[in-house]
Symmetry: C2
Subunit: 384 residues, 2 copies
């Protein structure tokens, strides 16, 4: 159901010939109103793709009437001509749809950095995808934004008379700020852009920002939340924020579960930290430690690599008070040897690392993947 | 010639049975004087192995008469009993050698974190290695500190009537602060600890600190510089500092050349930075980008991943002024598409990435490795 689970939206996904393999590569999501409130969160990378620069500008206007997304090319590091391509795409969408302005059309792109988009395929593709718009087109849209994703990713939360739905793509270059390549969330709740922005930032901070597949931050990360108001309902803010967080968490977990070449999903629970920031910093350092990620791939409960990762951070802790559990077995106690490592069962897909900083009462959970030969293969065998 | 190239030193390496495969695993370097001045630089990891804590204390005393080094176990995260093991090892060395005090015996260990050392092997081993001491024992010592190193690493610089020599081990967990697991440098120059410290810090800052094989910082990194004064010469400080830097650079390059599973050595020249710190920060971010490291393994001149890495830093730059060359071909100009990627030849072992920040006149060079399936295999197949 994806982005069309909420009322007031139509969507479509088509193969426009951007990808050479003929797979779907162009998606359109249209907000049919009555409202067009929207919020967006974008990559913290200072090298931003043209569609990110464009869509940030659109979001500042406070309204989004449509989102056009392409896979098969990131339109990043393409200079002024690349930005002109993004603008031309938005203008084409506005021209093809009735009652839309280019300044309210968000654009998102994903694929190889540093190549121009084939505009001779995209502009006719906009006509094709607009002609295919349907109130149940959410799945096709989700399929069309895939790059190396093995499956398309959607999630839905049903509120009382209102709905939040969404789609995501992302399988590599997943790292905080944001973790995800492209996400579009829709709701038929009637809320203004300010409320949407607050709910979206609160949700991404705890979900996409805490997913770190490979430590690499994208130039194109975009998360959009569009509200049509078609349900006629204005939910309590807290209930709505929780719904957005739930959908984001679901999609974030799907991203980690489908990360390039991964064989394990790693949940990192940092507990008893002095501050939440400390917990996140320690968690990120653990999430990014290649040696640990290799050990987990090999089902080796190598807790020394967890301590070594924590030791590189500025978090508050005393080395001889640190405790680490792997899948519930406290293999490290007081910074030293704890329970027998042989008691740890790491045969499942999910591995839980609990890092107890013994420095306070704050906590954070992060998600990561193991490092595998398949990851290396997927990212060395061809440009992406 | 290693640590015995300089006069006034003897060394040995033996198999003490710490490693289960019977390979050499215990090395001893003795400074026979007349001086015993010394300096040391240690890991910046806050989780420090027992021998690091011990040796930092020894160095603060200003004199080192001997260094005992073992492979086969890091003695890290082993608590108070582990520290007692280190102390007992130093005391044993002092007892076996004439005229030595435990407080002047540095200890270094390398191997798996989180297991106790087999002291029933190490203490008798100290007797064996002391009995094997020889003025040409430097090579054997260098061999005995190997872990996953495929070759032992030594370097020598001949000054005018004085010499600087050294040995190093390290093949994984190589990252700044410091890059190297264990390094012992010796000189027969007559210099005090203060001059040694200044020369050593100056050299490591530009060499071992700028090597980043896998982004993982060790708990055990130790670089020691011992001066015997046996040449009777006191070189000009600048000439001596340059000699130390030359030996460190030689050893650092050998570490990168022998890094676990690597198929490429990557030299990263960051140029036209506003400050040296900016150059180093941008260089480190490039050095640690897994996606780029995979691309280089696949001989793919994926410059977008270089820009994406620079974009995560706080260095001064404008995205649309960045330039990137790979092996001399400027594939990225003004943050956008430059020369044809097909013109880049990446078939050799060494790949040079030049990142032009176009923001000033400072520069820095860093060294890294590619990311390979073999790296994953070496670090997942067994604990290390």
């Amino acid at each position: 159901m994806s982005v069309t689970a909420a009322r007031g939206f139509s969507a479509a996904g088509v193969a426009a010939g951007i990808k050479s393999n003929g797979n779907p590569d162009l998606a359109l999501v249209v907000n049919n109103g009555p409202c067009r409130a929207a919020a967006g969160v974008f990559t913290a990378n200072r090298v931003k793709a043209a569609p990110v620069v464009w869509s940030e500008q659109v979001i500042r206007g406070g309204a989004v009437s449509a989102v056009i997304l392409n896979s098969g090319g990131a339109n990043a590091c393409t200079g002024a001509p690349g930005f002109q391509d993004t603008r031309a795409t938005a203008e084409k969408v506005a021209a093809v749809l009735d009652g839309h302005r280019a300044g309210e059309v968000a654009v998102a792109s994903t694929g190889l950095i540093g190549t121009r988009l084939p505009m001779d395929r995209i502009l006719p593709g906009v006509e094709t995808v607009a002609a295919a718009l349907a109130e149940d087109g959410g799945e096709q849209a989700a399929v069309a934004i895939k790059t190396t994703d093995s499956v398309h990713k959607t999630a839905v939360f049903e509120g009382e008379g209102w709905t939040v739905g969404g789609m995501a793509k992302g399988a590599g270059m997943l790292a905080p700020g944001l973790a995800t390549m492209l996400v579009v969330l829709t709701t038929d709740a009637d809320l203004d852009s300010k409320a949407l922005d607050k709910a979206l930032r609160g949700a991404t901070r705890l979900t996409f920002d805490r997913v770190d597949s490979d430590g690499c931050m994208s130039t194109n990360d975009t998360v959009l939340l569009l509200a049509s108001g078609a349900s006629g309902k204005t939910p309590e803010y807290a209930a709505f924020a929780e719904a957005v967080r739930t959908v984001c968490e679901d999609l974030a977990r799907q991203l980690i579960g489908d990360a390039e070449g991964a064989s394990k999903d790693i949940r990192i629970d940092v507990v008893n930290a002095a501050t939440e920031d400390d917990a996140v910093e320690a968690g990120r350092s653990i999430a990014r430690n290649n040696l640990l990620k290799c050990a987990i791939h090999g089902e080796d409960p190598n807790w020394g690599r967890v301590l070594s990762a924590i030791g590189t951070t500025g978090a508050s802790f005393e080395p001889d008070r640190l405790n680490v559990a792997i899948n519930g077995v406290w293999v490290c106690k007081d910074g030293s040897i704890g329970a027998d490592r042989d008691g740890v069962d790491m045969s499942g897909r999910e591995v839980v690392i609990t890092a107890d900083l013994a420095a306070g009462t704050e906590a954070a959970t992060l998600w990561a993947n193991d490092l595998t030969a398949e990851y290396v293969h997927e990212n060395s065998a061809y440009s992406s």
